[in-house]
């Protein structure tokens, strides 16, 4: 890192860079969770989906170049797609199981965390060593400054931009389209949706699968962009934090974007401080996102009233 030459200015720069780099997984998972929860189900298992996405993207990107003779520019994108599909497969299991009678969606989520991460570690074992082609990034820094520290800080992944565009699009989808209305109806008042002639099961199935697709892409970002390799520790609770993040964002996709940037920033405080040689309490700073999530939940939740913006059927066994 060139942060040493900048002295303590390296800290805000490091946090800015970390925010731009680290918030994309939060963004994709929280958008996926937002879509899922809007339909009235919770998917805690996105942590497993994220790991599965990270593993499959990395494996496909590696195999594409080494075994199938694809160009290093194309194979990571195939990896991103396959990560989404792997997410959909896990999403299907969650959607089917959590809609069985007497089955609790939170419990299914816990099971899916164990199953998804187990599957990812099992299948991903051979890919821990090799180096796969990563996704390219767009260099914004070259226009602004010649300092290499600033240039490396302002590298932005096209996936991140995709996520930023997706947030207002999803907001528009909920607000102004017919399928968006169906999703909201199923999540808010399953009885009304039933009266409209909407199949609750189908809508929830589609929402959970689509949400898991997004979470899979978030995983692909982890292994192909930042940190940019496949290890078993690549996702440390981001999938879970997304659940809290959606509550914080009041089930609004655009606010999910702001919340993700906030969390990405919180995550990079520890590394940014370390890069300037400040290493007191490193582990606690690294735990900042979890502590922050907990604090946010303590502040935003209330025993007196349901949260504004919360889908009405969320957490009930209805439908």
């Amino acid at each position: 890192m060139a942060a040493e030459t900048l002295g303590w200015w390296g800290v805000p720069l490091g946090i800015l860079a970390g925010t731009l780099r680290g918030s994309a997984p939060f963004l994709f998972v929280s958008l996926g969770e937002c879509l899922t929860e809007k339909s009235g189900k919770i998917n805690l298992g996105l942590e497993g989906t994220l790991l599965m996405g990270a593993m499959s993207a990395y494996a496909i990107s590696y195999l594409g170049v080494e075994k199938w003779g694809m160009s290093p520019a194309a194979s990571p994108w195939l990896g991103v797609f396959v990560a989404g599909v792997a997410g959909m497969a896990l999403g299907f299991i969650h959607a089917w199981l959590s809609q069985q009678p007497k089955v609790n969606d939170i419990a299914v989520g816990i099971a899916m965390i164990i199953f998804g991460s187990g599957l990812a570690f099992f299948l991903g074992k051979p890919f821990i060593q090799p180096q796969a082609a990563g996704l390219p990034s767009i260099e914004l820094g070259t226009w602004i400054s010649s300092s290499p520290a600033i240039q490396s800080a302002l590298k932005i992944s096209p996936l991140f931009i995709l996520g930023v565009v997706l947030a207002p699009l999803m907001s528009w989808f909920f607000r102004s389209t017919r399928p968006g209305l169906f999703v909201r109806a199923v999540g808010d008042s399953p009885d009304a949706a039933l009266a409209m002639g909407v199949s609750i099961k189908k809508v929830r199935m589609l929402c959970i699968i689509a949400g898991s697709f997004l979470a899979g892409i978030g995983g692909a970002y982890l292994s192909l962009v930042y940190p940019g390799s496949w290890t078993e520790r690549i996702s440390s609770g981001q999938g879970l934090m997304a659940v809290a993040l959606v509550i914080f964002a009041r089930w609004n996709p655009v606010q999910c974007l702001w919340a993700s940037l906030f969390f990405g920033g919180a995550q990079s405080i520890g590394p940014a401080l370390q890069s300037v040689g400040f290493d007191q309490g490193v582990y606690l700073f690294n735990a900042a996102p979890y502590i922050l999530t907990l604090l946010i939940m303590i502040i935003t939740c209330s025993p007196k009233k349901t949260l504004s913006g919360a889908p009405g059927a969320l957490g009930t066994i209805s439908g």
């Binding site: 609790n104 199953f115 187990g118 939940m297």
Partner: protein, 381 residues
């Protein structure tokens, strides 16, 4: 007669459905192994051989089952109150920290003993030191989960998410402490706390390599069963778990119940941490995080939150964990194989929840068909 036959059928259903689910999960796991080019029957027989076939192997299984019984209670007890706590791993880590700090204080008079203090182990009898360590673990683990319970009651924070987040926070606290405030500078491979003196460790049961933690587990599970099923307190907790509104109207102190049950739950997992530290590791470092917390959740689910059933399920799953090493060595399967199997069991068990009441055989028969209960099983349970 009618009630006893209903009970008999209910018990049979409560045993048959989880057993059937386990068998089905085994079949699915066999398919998974076959897809990966391994002979499923070789896998089954290896699991059986390395976990249950001989006394030596079974001891290894019991060693793993001991912490699982205790961590399972961390999920099973609050579940009776309708709470889904999954902070088992965090409570275990906090318990281990509490135990090692109490143990070092009682043995050397300091958590960071100097060289001359290390030479001189205090004269406090080992029984009292171990008792102090257990207390440290119970308090530390108990408070940890009680926080999640209090947040649930006072702030309506979802206890599943908060307790899960607190796992990560507990591990960060442990890393911070063993990497700084209570670090043993002579330990260079892994940041660790100071080691407990050999006299103040938990010993093995005579003639075995099983440590006393197994007894802790069995005794605590039985106590938990009595507490939940046979006392007024347990009755109040189950009532509140069944219907919070009704419990409030009946004047039950739901908040107090929540916090006490969560404290007890956390203290069980904390005790597991103490047993691991005092019998296996002798100090606190990263090896304490071995996944017992997460497997404990599964044990609680398979046992349908029944503390006695937790003992049996913990032994079963302990066997599967202890066969993980053999699967890796003999069949060259990744260590995550055990995790995949656990995930499959978990999913199938959850699915089996929707099967209760669906099988005719477990329903009260129509008068035309006389029920065939045998006298030994017809006892009301």
């Amino acid at each position: 007669m009618t009630t006893s036959s209903t009970n008999w059928r209910k018990t049979a259903e409560a045993i048959a459905i989880p057993l059937g689910a386990l068998l089905f999960a085994l079949v699915l796991f066999g398919l998974f192994c076959a897809l990966n080019g391994k002979n499923p029957f070789a896998v089954y027989s290896l699991i059986f051989r390395s976990a249950f076939s001989s006394w030596g192997a079974f001891q290894g299984t019991l060693l793993r089952a001991a912490p699982l019984m205790l961590t399972a209670l961390c999920t099973a007890l609050p579940a009776r109150l309708g709470l889904m706590i999954i902070g088992n791993e965090g409570a275990l880590v906090m318990g281990g920290l509490g135990a090692v700090m109490a143990g070092l204080l009682l043995s050397f008079g300091s958590v960071t003993p100097g060289p001359e203090q290390l030479q001189q182990v205090s004269g406090i009898p080992s029984f009292f030191v171990l008792f102090g360590m257990a207390m440290g673990a119970i308090v530390a683990g108990g408070i940890w989960i009680a926080i999640a319970g209090a947040l649930r009651h006072y702030r309506a924070v979802n206890e599943t998410i908060s307790s899960l987040l607190m796992n990560y926070i507990a591990i960060a606290i442990m890393n911070q402490l063993v990497g700084g405030a209570i670090q043993d500078p002579s330990e260079t491979i892994k940041a660790s706390s100071f080691a407990l003196p050999a006299v103040n460790r938990l010993t093995s049961l005579p003639g075995t390599r099983i440590h006393y933690g197994l007894l802790y587990g069995i005794i605590v599970c039985i106590l938990a069963y009595v507490l939940i099923q046979k006392t007024t307190f347990g009755f109040a907790a189950r009532t509140a778990g069944g219907n919070v509104k009704a419990a409030r109207i009946a004047g039950l102190p739901v908040g107090k119940l929540t916090i006490i049950i969560c404290f007890l739950a956390g203290s069980c997992a904390g005790l597991a941490g103490m047993a691991e530290v005092a019998a296996v590791h002798g100090r606190v470092n990263e090896s304490l995080i071995a996944g017992y917390g997460y497997t404990g959740i599964l044990v609680a689910f398979v046992a349908r939150y029944n503390p006695i059933a937790c003992i049996l399920v913990a032994i079963l799953l302990g066997g599967i964990i202890s066969s993980g090493g053999a699967l890796q060595r003999n069949l060259d399967m990744p260590d995550a194989t055990v995790l995949v199997f656990q995930g499959l069991v978990f999913l199938v068990i959850l699915y089996s929840d929707s099967l209760y009441g669906r099988f005719k055989i477990f329903k009260e028969p129509t008068p035309a068909a006389p029920p065939p209960p045998s006298p030994s099983t017809a006892l009301p349970v």
